[in-house]
């Protein structure tokens, strides 16, 4: 929480990833629990802080501010960099 105070206030949050990530995934990634590779914090992707002024979308950990996920869309491809994520956990209804 504390790191947020040093960041500009035009960022949004992981809710804004729902449309872009739905271009590549059929499950809703924003409700999946992500684990930050830097500090180990877990929580729904919807709670990440998302910066849109880069060429693409940069999602940072709400706790430590480190980059968890990056998404860049060009005219013909989508690039997803997930170096900052240890796991993504999805709840699934029993078969």
């Amino acid at each position: 929480m504390t790191s947020e105070e040093h960041l500009p206030d035009d960022h949004v949050d992981g809710n804004a990833l729902a449309g872009p990530l739905a271009e590549v995934f059929t499950a809703d990634v924003t409700v999946a629990q992500s684990e930050c590779a830097h500090c180990g914090a877990t929580g729904p992707v919807a709670r990440l802080l998302v910066y849109r002024d880069a060429p693409g979308l940069v999602a940072r950990c709400q706790e430590c501010g480190q980059v968890v996920l990056r998404y860049v869309r060009t005219a013909s491809a989508a690039h997803l960099d997930m170096r900052g994520t240890v796991t993504l956990a999805f709840s699934l209804a029993p078969e």
Binding site: M1, E4, P8, D9, D10, H11, V12, D13, G14, N15, A16, A18, G19, A22, E23, T26, A27, D28, T30, V31, P44, V45, A46, R47, R52, A93
Partner: protein, 251 residues
């Protein structure tokens, strides 16, 4: 029921759809509600949003996200657009789009900032400006599903002239309490001095943390972060405080 809406999309990649403007509603000078007919629209969950794409004749294309304002239903939705002074998309949508015009949208998307009629706990809605839009969809979804779970809405707005859905909120619904927090100019006789949201607003008009409500906070980023931090300070579990940030609005 709600699940069917989401699961209907599984296996099908999100695609752009063509929406037709079938009506316009003026909220106040800078805010307009667009009524959209969308063939094959599956309906949405209250709180979800859509991405809207506009393409110029030279091929330049840009997109923005807008929360759905209306009650979930197939084939139809409403979005409310606040025109921003230097906006690239919002002035066009708010002022220039006419009945019969077409626009591209995709969705509904976002499964986290949603309220489902089967939720039984009390609900606290905290809106900053046009952050009211997805929360209004929750209020409407509760109404149309015959819901009885108590809702409280704290709505922070500049002045009485800057209200969204004014008439509908004034008419009210049983079990819905509405509190207006005016930031610049309050109506005559108002007890609260105009000003930004403070923790005592949430104490006086929200739910005690021990009632374990789900709190939905939506608005400009600075507002949403402040209000949600206050809720956590007041003892609400961070897992029960769901936030959607709109970014800076250049207010």
């Amino acid at each position: 029921m709600a699940r069917a809406t989401v699961q209907g999309r599984l296996g099908e990649r999100l695609r752009w759809r063509t929406a037709e403007v079938v009506g316009r509603g003026s909220e106040y000078a800078e805010a307009t509600t667009l009524m959209l007919k969308v063939p094959d629209w599956p309906g949405h969950l209250a709180g979800q949003h859509v991405d809207v794409r506009l393409t110029a004749e030279d091929g330049y294309s840009t997109q923005r996200s807008y929360s759905v304002a209306s009650t979930p239903e197939p084939g139809y939705l409403e979005i409310t657009v606040q025109s921003l002074p230097d906006g690239e998309v919002s002035p066009y949508l708010a002022h220039d789009m006419a009945v019969g015009d077409l626009l591209e949208l995709r969705g509904p998307v976002g499964g986290w900032f949603v309220w489902r009629p089967e939720q039984e706990e009390p609900v606290l809605l905290v809106a900053g400006g046009s952050g009211l839009v997805p929360l209004m969809s929750m209020i409407r979804a509760r109404g149309s599903s015959g819901g009885r779970t108590p809702f409280r809405l704290l709505y922070s707005l500049r002045s009485p002239a800057h209200g969204l859905y004014t008439k509908e909120l004034r008419e009210g619904l049983p079990g819905l309490d509405v509190t207006y927090l005016y930031t610049r100019e309050a109506p005559e006789g108002a007890k609260r001095e105009p000003g930004r949201i403070v923790p005592s607003d949430l104490v006086d008009h929200g739910w005690p943390a021990e009632f374990a409500p789900t709190c939905y906070v939506c608005g400009p980023t600075a507002f949403a972060e402040k209000a949600s931090a206050y809720l956590v300070l007041l003892g609400h579990s961070p897992e029960r405080v769901r936030v959607e940030r709109f970014g800076g609005t250049g207010e």
